[in-house]
């Protein structure tokens, strides 16, 4: 092989080497971007699931106020709370399908302070945790009076 051919082969190898380095850099960049997009999408999906769980709790028939089959929005019947707590403990699997790993607490702020914990299934192995606080009316059907409360939904998502 003459010297000119050897130089040309060397040149080709150098060009290919630079080309593959550029391809590798591009690939690494692409993978990083895809990875960050996936994480972003995962976070968005977690947020949506958390909002879904919060809405399911807010419109739970076991807790909602109703009169003559007419439902009052944004209201929890205090008398239903204790029964709901017992039912949720008894039928844990059914409610797990609805609320997954979360804890649902209701705190009365006015007229007196009180707290009810109606569902709690927690895990240490979670990737994101969201707390949603929803101000809600607490209706006492016996005295026909409304209190001011907060429905706190803490969701843990894997």
């Amino acid at each position: 092989m003459d010297k000119k051919s050897q130089i040309q082969i060397g040149e080709t190898i150098a060009v290919l080497f630079v080309f593959f380095i550029l391809v590798a850099i591009g690939f690494i960049f692409y993978v990083k971007v895809i990875q960050s997009n996936l994480e972003q999408e995962k976070d968005e999906a977690s947020q949506l699931r958390s909002v879904g769980i919060a809405q399911r709790v807010m419109f739970l028939p076991e807790l909602q106020c109703s009169e003559d089959n007419i439902i009052t929005d944004n209201c929890i019947d205090v008398l239903k709370l204790e029964s709901a707590k017992g039912i949720m403990k008894e039928k844990e699997l059914y409610y797990y399908d609805m609320f997954e790993y979360s804890s649902i607490n209701i705190t009365q702020i006015y007229p007196t302070e009180a707290k009810w914990s109606i569902y709690s299934k927690e895990t240490d192995d979670f990737s994101s945790k969201f707390v949603t606080n929803v101000p809600i009316s607490l209706f006492d059907p016996a005295g026909r009076k409304y209190g001011f409360g907060v429905l706190a939904i803490e969701t843990m998502l894997k």
Partner: protein, 155 residues
């Protein structure tokens, strides 16, 4: 065209293509801002739920009258005096202050609560005026001669 000139032209085309591809990737993939579904849901619900719940709340010290009824009296003649000696206006004011500080205050959310018939002379004003973006909820309450507006701004 000479061979060297052809090669330079080819190189220039490759560089332009790489620049276009990079701009495209940066524009659509890297600078894509995350969608805050939960924050949107929470802030849109918060103002309306807080105000709605507050207006419906029964005042234990004022014969279980609702805050709406007390506001109506406050705008009318302040004829109601609660068990603790407070007038309707001052009772709504102190209760709203207490409830909002135990909720929005604890959650470190800035707010402004107003109840007025004339926006320049509010009957009740709690919190600081929002600067910049805010979520607002306005509830008109009919009274005998006028309309009372209860407004909550979440900053």
């Amino acid at each position: 065209m000479k061979r060297a000139q052809m090669e330079i032209l080819g190189l220039a085309i490759v560089v332009v293509l790489i620049l276009v591809a990079t701009t495209f990737i940066v524009r659509f993939l890297v600078l894509k801002s995350p969608t805050e579904y939960r924050a949107g849901f929470v802030s849109s619900e918060l103002a309306s739920n807080t105000l709605n719940t507050f207006l419906k709340t029964s005042a234990a010290e004022c014969s279980q009258l609702s805050m709406t009824e007390l506001l109506q009296d406050c705008a009318r003649a302040e004829s109601i005096t609660c068990d603790n000696g407070q007038s309707s206006c001052s009772f709504v004011n102190s209760t709203a202050k207490s409830i909002l500080s135990k909720t929005l205050g604890i959650w470190a959310i800035r707010y402004e609560f107003l109840a007025y018939t004339d926006a320049k002379l509010p009957l009740i004003k709690i919190g600081q005026q929002c600067r910049g973006e805010k979520k607002s909820k306005l509830f008109p309450i009919p009274a005998t001669t006028t309309t009372i507006y209860a407004k909550l701004d979440i900053c």
